[in-house]
């Protein structure tokens, strides 16, 4: 069982054994050669799940995940016994990225980059610890779980205009707070508006290169622009939902006669009480992440107003990359509602799609791919092609190529921070050890990943941005 190239940069695994559909990965020869063995196994396992449509897909940044590969995309038909998998969404429900333009050039920062970065580090709660910007009661939390970023705006965090450029307009329909456990809520009451730790970050960036002048103009991006990007998710609430349903679904699956090649794929039929329960809770988790990023965005605006009062932070877009969403897709000439799992993968609607904000509809949805704190990130645009190829999906980031333990043997946190500093990149980290694990060398080459995403029609490059300062949890 091995990959064979069916067209440039598209590799397929023929169905064998319990696989119901092929496995398919979008990758260059270099990425395939470096691909960890587990991705192939996980791609095949996902392909064996009931109701899967078309193929079990993996994005160019794919690496070993939990049940699903990170960078995995799989769509299921509820009318054909399709399942929803808690493992296909993961613990950090709706982890995602939001990017602001600032109306400033990076050069205007002058010698105030350090001061600005430090204020962001002091103002935005991050790292291991407690205390977000917002403290809630349980009834207020329930409202947040239904209202998402829309709720946050109503409470004074950000502007109503922001909602136009967030997926689902900032509010995921179908959220059911009654499906979220007391424990999950308890973990979030004091944490709304916090970054978390690990690979979550807040970054000041400069637009270094434009690939598509027309799309850049529509996204209001120009050479030398200063951007701000936030990467975080649904915090303890999401983790608790993921934990509870993963543990529960292991036994649920067998009751429905679903053989799990890997317990991590823990799932239930979409059309089952358990499946609906999870969907209600997971959608609440999505709203939790959207509200979280909306609040942090408002904090960032406050910090900017202290140092650069003339700056106008305008939301470019907010994307999520650990979700399962009910979407309409065309399969075999017919429109069907499918439940699309994207685990470490981003939705990427193309030009003309109704879900793309009107002002972007001509060029497609912005796709934000995070790189590493030492290299670059990308703004891309969704394509029409991606709909047929990958249910309008693209990658989410550079993807790791090295374990954390290995990274720590090669890089030492303080030295790494110093070295990046010498290159002009300021790192503000709550833990030096954590910084070593996030070393740029531990990740795949983001330029390669973005180039392959374009070459395979998943999304097309609009701008490359470089980090100036990174606040890490």
């Amino acid at each position: 069982m091995s990959f064979h190239e069916i067209e440039p940069n598209v590799w397929e695994l023929d169905p064998s054994g319990p696989m119901r559909v092929p496995g398919r990965i979008f990758a260059s020869r270099e990425l395939i050669d470096a691909l960890d063995e587990k991705v192939r196994e996980q791609l095949a396992n996902v392909a064996a799940l009931p109701g899967i449509v078309e193929a079990s897909l993996a994005m160019p940044d794919a690496h070993w995940g939990y049940g699903f590969p990170i960078g995995g995309v799989a769509a299921f038909d509820p009318d054909r016994g399709g399942i929803v998998s808690a493992g296909g969404v993961g613990f950090d429900i709706s982890c995602g990225v939001r990017t602001f333009t600032t109306g400033m050039k990076a050069a205007e920062l002058g010698d105030r980059l350090e001061t600005l970065a430090h204020d962001l580090y002091r103002t935005v709660p991050a790292g291991v610890g407690w205390g977000g910007a917002v403290k809630l009661t349980v009834p207020e939390l329930d409202q947040m779980l239904v209202g998402g970023a829309e709720w946050a705006v109503q409470k004074g965090w950000g502007d109503a205009d922001d909602l136009e450029r967030i997926e689902e307009r900032g509010r995921m329909e179908g959220a059911d707070p009654s499906r979220v456990s007391r424990r999950a809520k308890e973990r979030q009451l004091q944490e709304v508006g916090s970054l978390g730790s690990g690979n979550h970050y807040l970054e000041l960036q400069v637009v270094e290169r434009l690939f598509d002048a027309k799309a850049a103009a529509v996204f209001r991006l120009a050479d030398g622009d200063l951007l701000v990007t936030i990467h975080c998710g649904s915090r303890g609430l999401g983790h608790q939902i993921g934990t509870e349903f993963l543990q529960r679904f292991v036994s649920v699956a067998s009751r429905y006669g679903i053989a799990l090649p890997d317990r991590e794929l823990a799932c239930a039929p979409i059309r089952s009480p358990e499946g609906e329960e999870y969907l209600g809770a997971m959608r609440a988790g999505i709203n939790c992440a959207l509200a979280n990023r909306q609040v942090i965005g408002a904090l960032v605006r406050k910090v900017f107003s202290r140092h650069f009062p003339a700056a106008k932070l305008r939301l470019l877009y907010d994307v999520s990359h650990n979700t399962c969403k009910a979407e309409e897709h065309e399969v075999g000439g017919q429109k069907r509602t499918l439940f699309v799992h994207r685990k470490g993968a981003t939705r990427a609607f193309g030009p003309g799609h109704a879900e793309v904000p009107a002002e972007y509809r001509e060029v497609g949805q912005p796709v934000l791919i995070g790189g590493t704190m030492g290299t670059g990130s990308y703004v891309l645009a969704g394509t029409r092609e991606s709909e047929a190829r990958a249910f309008s999906s693209s990658c989410h980031g550079a993807g790791r190529k090295m374990s954390r333990t290995q990274a720590k043997t090669i890089w030492q946190g303080k030295a790494l921070i110093r070295e990046l500093g010498e290159r002009g990149i300021i790192i503000k980290s709550h833990t030096a050890k954590g910084a070593a694990e996030e070393a740029p060398g531990a990740y795949k080459d983001v330029d390669e990943v973005a180039a392959v995403a374009e070459a395979t029609g998943l999304s097309r490059r609009v701008a490359r941005v470089l980090p100036l300062a990174c606040v890490k949890g």
């Binding site: 993961g90 730790s197 790791r400 050890k433 954590g434 694990e437």
Partner: protein
Amino acid sequence: MAWEHFEHGADVGVRGRGNSPECAFEGAACALFALLAEDLAAVQLSVEEPVACEAANLEELLVAFLNELLYLFDSRHVVFGRFEVAIEQTSRDVHLTGTARGEPFDPERHDFTVLPKGATFTALEVARRDDEWIAQCVVDV
């Protein structure tokens, strides 16, 4: 009782070893909390929390146990340095009861690396190997 971390692509493996399943579970818990306080031996034992969970088998019990501890960490704000558990097996399931002892988490004093999101079923194993029990799984960070 011994514990260690092991390799995993994007995250961290935790492993406990000992002369009983309980001992191995306690080791795995230590490996988990070493991510939050590298010098576990220096963690004061001023706070005690009861722990209880159940599962269909020993392996799923390990996942439930570690996730229970993460919930306690995040809700009580306590980093745990010592664990004592008892495991009871019936014909249908397995139960764990015990205590976790530690102190209030202090990011200034406790040398943390990262907050684990959850214990997973990846590389999950609870088994007897070469005269000792091992209990391990990968933790999503």
